[in-house]
Amino acid sequence: MTETLAGWRRRLGGEHLPYVDSRIYTDATIFEEELAKIWRRTWLLVSHESELPEPLDFRTTTIAREPVVIVRGEDGKVRAFLNVCPHRGALLLRQPAGNLRNANPSGSPKRITCMFHAWQFDAAGQCTSITRRSAGYQERLDCSQVSLKELPCEVAYGGFVWVHLEASAPPLRASMGNAFDALLPHLETEPLEVFHHHKAIVTTNYKFWHDTNSEFYHDYMHHFNRVTSMKQPGYFDRRYAPFSNGHVTISSMQVKYTAYEQDDVVLADSRDLSFPGLETNGWKLLDLFPGITLNLRGSALRIDTMTPLAPDKVLIEFRGLGLKKDTPDARARRVRDHNTIWGPFGRNLPEDLLGVVNQGLGVRPGSESLHILHGRFEDNSIHDEIGLRCYYREWSRRMNRLASAPDEAPPDAITAEPQSSSLGNGVH
């Protein structure tokens, strides 16, 4: 008890016990820097093509405080634009989703019309009308100068819509490397369809959520997982495979339902419904830097995406996907399986979120630095914290700050562009 509080907070961790400094989760300056250096410079999964099935369908989102709209053109191509009017800066589309066929009250069908002074843009971002243009601008301004700002946008890896805020974006595939290798066969054999979406504004740092999605050590928190999953043969055979760029993946494990059956018949999952190429009750997972998770488990694919709002506030969106060709009965079973664990009233999700809310309360803006341990080495099994170490290695590189000492720059080994497609055990 003779130790100072600040001393206690920093006493653990070292060369053999990797850790990060809690200020990376709480400091306002670091948060702004993350938006600038990471979120504005990364390919982000923002939607799925099944959310925009028809020409002129659109979806809106925000990335690092920039309003963004995704539109499927009349040519079927999906494009992304800054959702801001070039005239006086008004937000253009306000609905979360819609179709441009329906004109807004002062607009035309098939157009994005700014509600303010009715400038119009087509689904390809070209300005088609500046109201009273020649009377007001003479030869000083015409439509050709005021297209919407188009943003790099790709549909890939199973129909997901990816956006990058900067024209200088590297190719999406280069950013992903081999990260999707294991999942891809199951995502691209049959067209997918989103059947679930909900969201939560949570008072915690966004990285705490990704941390949770990067280890199964917290299965101790979930009653079912603790008393059933963890006792299954093969549970600890699952291995994280870390990639460069901060991504990690887990290859398949077959979920054993016998254990569940003993425990609770009525809440168990559908046994015989899966994804193409995935063994029945198979399970694969992919965590992408800086905050996307794909979780394919038996009959449902869950996707988590995040929008950081403040050092201690994040919007998390949850999607569930099945196959487009699902029969009504199959779809109903996927929905049920998904919700049983991952719905807002599901078995695991409220607990996972509660866990990170508790981290946000233990580690608050304004509190002193605490060493957060990321030091489990368990042969890359799912209770190893390799996923977190892999993430913060990339974070250090992108931020040019050492995660364990954010006032210092990282050593050369980290700042060098990653060369190999995977990283060995013990990354820190």
């Binding site: 504004i201 719905g343 009233f345």
Partner: protein
């Protein structure tokens, strides 16, 4: 609905069930609440997602499933809160000779308990969700039983969500 002729008697009989239901759920007396339900009872929580432009089902259980779900509640980590389901019977329509459809407005308030920072925020109240109960009730042995309930939420932003059902 031939067997309960007077409108006022009908309203009173349904109100008795509806409001008893709110009381039992607020006090987490799930056994008592289940006794207000018929054997064929089905309980759903649904909402329309304006993000996907699709209907969402967030929970869907028959009576056995619901019973199991409620039984498992103590095994879960939750942030305790006292819920107040404020509901008003809005419309009442016949659904065959011995059943009615009842739609009721619903506002759920929460008074937070161990909200994490309970020292500061515990005991404060907030609006948690707004929507409707869409119920079917069936006469059996002279009293109404809930035969179907769809908790139709307007609210889709539910924070961390909940193991407890509205």
């Amino acid at each position: 609905m031939s067997s309960v002729p007077k409108r006022s008697e009908l309203r009173a009989a349904v109100e008795d069930v509806l409001y008893a239901s709110a009381v039992h759920l607020d006090s987490q007396k799930f056994e008592s609440w289940l006794q207000l339900t018929a054997p064929e009872f089905r309980y759903r929580i649904t909402s329309y997602s304006h993000d996907l432009r699709k209907d969402m089902t967030w929970l869907d259980h028959d009576r056995a499933g619901l019973t199991a779900l409620l039984a498992i509640l103590p095994k879960h980590h939750v942030n305790g809160a006292q819920w107040l389901r404020q509901t008003v019977l809005y419309t009442l329509d016949d659904d065959g000779p011995d059943a009615v459809r009842a739609v009721s407005s619903l506002a759920v308030f929460q008074t937070v308990l161990d909200v994490g920072d309970a020292h500061v925020d515990g005991g404060s109240s907030r609006l948690f969700a707004a929507g409707h109960y869409q119920d079917r009730l069936r006469l059996e042995g002279g009293r109404f039983l809930l035969s179907d309930r769809n908790v139709r939420l307007d609210t889709r932003q539910l924070g961390i969500g909940s193991h407890l059902i509205p």
